[in-house]
Symmetry: C2
Subunit: 337 residues, 2 copies
């Protein structure tokens, strides 16, 4: 490790996060291996295969346009399960509350969790609550772990991308990150920016039911954004991916805010988006499936797998250039989820 | 809710914790129901039954005699699974790190987690890491969720206690709580007090293999101590339990420290103990099984189920008195786990 203390960037989802994972956490805990860097594990329990995943949520502020830390914690874990091809079944909830948190705020957050769980068709089956003294936490942190079951077919991962695959996304990029940032900083410009926080289990189930094995890879581009997640897929699958900048759906408000703040929406977090790499012959069908869901009506084909072997990602820019896409370096937006 | 803000006592495991759960969290999230207040849920996944549980660990200090927050997080979740009768199979790990945490401290904690997982025979299969800015957390919080499978027999809970059952514990009470407190406060008196942090999966498996259905109830007396956990069992099973004070195993150092500080070891947290309520004809066998394990060589029969229906717990004191045992009120020792 280059640093002898934890830096904010170690939580970015980008390059420093990967370094912490690859150089410290994975070698010690194993099972969480560099070859297995999907957002959920797949287990054989004897009685069948399960997907199992966990995420802690420390977003600041806890309420933001389009959601709050509660629905975010449910949707995020539902999505990590869905990205494996599993049907999300049950969640656990671990609450770490700061002394002094308003009971009314806690109630609103719990109600959002319940509504999100009901909407996604998962049950919250077990939980734990801890309280830390004032100044030793920040209002509320939520961990959700989740279990999913495989109703049909093998699991999906970031490893299955093949040359020729088309890259699809189910809508606009960067909405969640910019909604949280705007809300945190009280930016006037951003009043129409809302988080995309949403559960994608139903959309994924439809996609798999329609395309079957022609869905080669699925990942949700959360921390680190579309750029970092595609870089992960390219590394896992050992392929080269090329994106078309002018095909990337970006909401006008997000594009404007990013321009003013000097941020690249490709690196801004999403919480209701997935990247699907599908057989090119099925790309238009996949697009049609996505577009019939509320979470996918702005779906687009944004690129393709252009070669094997390199692990690199390129962007063909709107003005005819071509640049290399790297993982997020440092901490662009702390505590985005 | 009587308070409109979160108090430290809401995290005690005692009366305020139950109130928060019963009046706010359970009615909203449901599934986490008052009739289902065991430490793990049992799910039917279609391919078999699973135990599923979660706990967040916020112990202060993170290193203490007998362990650290890492092995505690593994052992605690292993034990919650074991108390259902399930064989602990896999864990998830969610880390919330405070900016500035020493990498060396993180390494020691991860190594303790790995060693504890190896010792308990569980795999750590998935994880997540978040970082919060200085002053918004406290070094490290760890969530572990766990999955267990049922190799044989029905699940155990706190609901199965019957009149006549003997109450067993696998060793001395209050060690973990007093080790953490002594370490936190730098108490000189307590140099020989060590946390009992240990995984009980193997001991439980042996107990179930030997006694089978004669094990009627199992719970681990963590936050709130033996008193609060027996009160939970009495309520769940709708029985009256009577303890014998002079049968309670208490280490001399813990007894002395409790006397000086005015604490009752019955309410002090344990992290390697279980309460087993077993058929009276099998109590001596259960004792012998416990005593052949390192985690049980000071096992004792500490009481019995004396009636049905009341949900009350009594203590026959060493000097011939009889007093009612209630749940822990308020927050005796914050951040004990």
């Amino acid at each position: 490790m280059k640093s002898d203390i934890i830096l904010l960037g170690h939580g970015s989802g980008g390059r420093l996060s990967h370094q912490l994972l690859d150089e410290l956490i994975t070698p010690i805990l194993s099972g969480i291996g560099p070859r297995d860097q999907n957002d959920a594990a797949v287990l054989d329990t004897g009685g069948g295969r399960l997907a199992f995943t966990t995420d802690s949520y420390v977003v600041d502020p806890i309420f933001f346009p389009g959601g709050n830390i509660g629905d975010l914690a449910v949707n995020g874990t539902v999505n990590d399960l869905a990205m494996t091809g599993a049907r999300p079944l049950a969640l656990s909830v671990g609450l770490i509350l700061e002394e002094g948190l308003a009971i009314d705020d806690l109630r609103r957050i719990l109600e959002a969790m319940r509504a999100a769980a009901d909407h996604a068709g998962v049950r919250i089956v077990t939980g734990d609550t801890k309280v830390v003294p004032r100044g030793k936490g920040d209002k509320i942190f939520i961990n959700t772990a989740g279990i999913g079951v495989f109703d049909h077919g093998p699991e999906i991962s970031g490893r299955g991308a093949r040359t020729g695959d088309k890259v699809l996304i189910n809508g606009t990029i960067g909405d969640h990150g910019m909604a949280v940032l705007a809300s945190r900083e009280g930016l006037e410009l951003a009043s129409d920016i809302r988080s995309d926080s949403a559960a994608l289990g139903v959309l994924v189930a439809d996609l798999l039911a329609t395309l079957g094995d022609d869905v080669h890879a699925l990942r949700d581009p959360t921390r680190g954004g579309v750029a970092t997640t595609l870089k992960e897929i390219a590394r896992q699958s050992q392929v080269e991916i090329t994106l078309q900048e002018d095909a990337l759906p970006v909401a006008a408000g997000v594009a404007g805010a990013c321009a003013i703040l000097g941020l690249d929406p490709l690196y801004v977090a999403n919480e209701g988006k997935l990247l699907a790499l599908v057989d090119p012959g099925q790309a238009e069908t996949a697009l049609a499936v996505m577009r019939r869901h509320a979470e996918g009506h702005q779906a687009a084909i944004i690129g393709e797998v252009t070669a094997t072997g390199s692990g690199r990602v390129f962007l063909n820019t709107a003005i005819g250039g071509r640049r290399t896409i790297e993982m997020l370096a440092g901490e662009q937006l702390p505590r985005i989820c």
